[in-house]
Symmetry: C2
């Protein structure tokens, strides 16, 4: 009998979330039902949106149920199948959650190619949801022309990495914002950013805004926002007329820190457009996005870095580290 | 020799603007040059955007030059013409500014119909720039379907009045926000709003938001913003998924009061779109907008109220009254 280790949401955070909100448990796998597949998870994806699901508040996804394994994207291998379209040995992508195994209907999984050069873990990052997120924000909302200046916060993360490769492919002046000199050097040297600005030495939005002005001398046409707060307040004065802001995340506020937009009159003065979005609501974008992202990886133009925690029991620690920006590129947990 | 009375911008405001920033002066009209027309202004339009032009700061229009007559929309009658397309007696619309007469190139004026039932002053309001502003925000940005709930702040003003008639014509549940029970009663009884909420009794955004919830039980699909600050913070929690915000003005902040958007995460959670806009940048909208607005007036479905100050010397006082919401409907100055 196979024992499945799981991390469940044991309690909801009161303000800041902590490892105490999670609990590791073991449960035997039941027999496989008709139509299901048994999948051994190889990697679990850790993503900022999971923090929102820990709360019991109105959001774009239902709150994570208490006492259940945390939801999350996984890649793995089919070990046993009672579903016609999948066979043992198939590599699959789906929402297996924070556990080592899952038994879900076969149709809940996407079968991955076995004959390409893309590592399995990339399907959770650059050639997965975060990569498609960058693609949608860039193409559906920012819609840049060659020569435009585009800016992204959390530049060295999974979304930022893909954003840089996609924006460079469109001939944009591509600027990142990240925390610390190592991440900025990585963004410039490996991810293809023309320049990356370290926000950490700046005490306030005004100071950061001045630094952004120096590297965006012609202003900014498109901004992809993952962070919010001081960073958004620093970027807004740099936006050119008719600029577009793709609002993807506000990680600065996930634990309750203030993220107010101090000067909304800039939206009026510069006729800016801001749109919040969720990648799952752009189903038609996935196929072209995954194709382009895969091609960029194969061409060596998208070389995402990963931070990999080893073992399910380290998922909470890795998750909170990511929320504080301790990861370097896509944060994963290796489960096998 | 005709003496022309003018109000010039004598100094720029330091924080709050006051009548001291203006100066009334008299100047003789020079001989009319080739291509020009001499126009006797009948009405001067007072509009919130003029407050922004008093400052010497980056905005979507150039600052008002010091020592020159304040710019502004006017309607009047041609008295003398050295321009082929206009003759004495023609009714015209243009930017004559805060003065009793002007001598401008004839091509700067739009000749108005003489055979319709639309009063001359309406071409500065419901069938003019403010009306077209409402049309653009509603049709180009909010794009409502029949049955949608749409909300507008400064509901009883020139823009709000037109917004109500246009939104009702599209089958929307049309809700206004205005200051005081008289304006709200007027909005409901004369302008066609289904309901109008008085913001004045509410001490904070949370209280106003609760009142809005009561009259928008199904949430809000589209919001037309003229005010900002507490009112925007009260509206945002009422927005439904994929809601659209047409950002037209932030009158609450024109004298430096805080207008921060306290909780931008609502844009993400509800995938909202917000767009700042200026009516002059939608040239293709003017003809269909003016046609529809004129038809609504003739059909008695748009009956804008006007607040008319008598005499150029009262323009500054009327202007500051409007910025504080003392006007009732379109604020004009009658010059003849």
């Amino acid at each position: 009998m196979t024992l499945n280790r799981q991390i469940i949401l044991a309690s909801r955070p009161d303000g800041a979330a902590s490892a105490d909100n999670f609990k590791l448990q073991e449960a035997p796998l039941p027999p496989l039902a008709e139509g299901e597949v048994r999948v051994r998870h190889h990697y679990l994806s850790l993503d900022p949106y999971m923090r929102g699901r820990m709360n019991d508040s109105k959001s774009y996804t239902a709150p994570q149920a208490l006492g259940e394994p945390m939801g999350g994207g996984t890649v793995g291998e089919v070990v046993e199948s009672r579903f016609e379209g999948l066979a043992p040995g198939d590599r699959v992508l789906g929402h297996g959650g924070w556990q080592e195994w899952s038994q879900l209907p076969g149709k809940a999984w996407t079968k991955l190619p076995t004959d390409d050069a893309v590592p399995l873990s990339y399907y959770l990052g650059a050639v997965g949801m975060p990569g498609v997120t960058a693609w949608v924000g860039l193409n559906e909302i920012i819609q840049p022309k060659a020569g435009d200046t585009v800016l992204v916060s959390a530049a060295s993360g999974a979304v930022g990495s893909a954003f840089a490769a996609l924006a460079k492919a469109r001939g944009c002046h591509t600027v990142g914002i990240a925390g610390g000199p190592e991440k900025c050097a990585y963004a410039e040297q490996e991810l293809g950013f023309d320049v990356c600005v370290d926000y950490r030495p700046h005490a306030d939005a005004q100071s950061l805004s001045k630094a952004l002005k120096a590297v965006c001398p012609n202003g900014v046409e498109g901004y992809f926002e993952n962070v919010g707060g001081m960073i958004m307040n620093a970027v807004l004065p740099r936006m050119n007329a008719f600029g577009r802001i793709a609002l993807c995340g506000l990680i600065a506020g996930y634990d309750g820190a203030p993220t107010a937009i101090d000067n909304p009159s800039l939206f009026l003065i510069q006729r800016l457009k801001m749109q919040g979005f969720i990648v799952s609501e752009f189903p038609k974008s996935w196929a072209p996005a995954l194709k382009e992202l895969g091609d960029l990886v194969k061409a060596g133009k998208l070389r995402p870095r990963e931070t990999v925690a080893q073992g399910l029991e380290h998922a909470p620690e890795a998750f909170f580290g990511m929320l504080k920006g301790k990861n370097f590129g896509k944060q994963l947990v290796k489960l096998i």
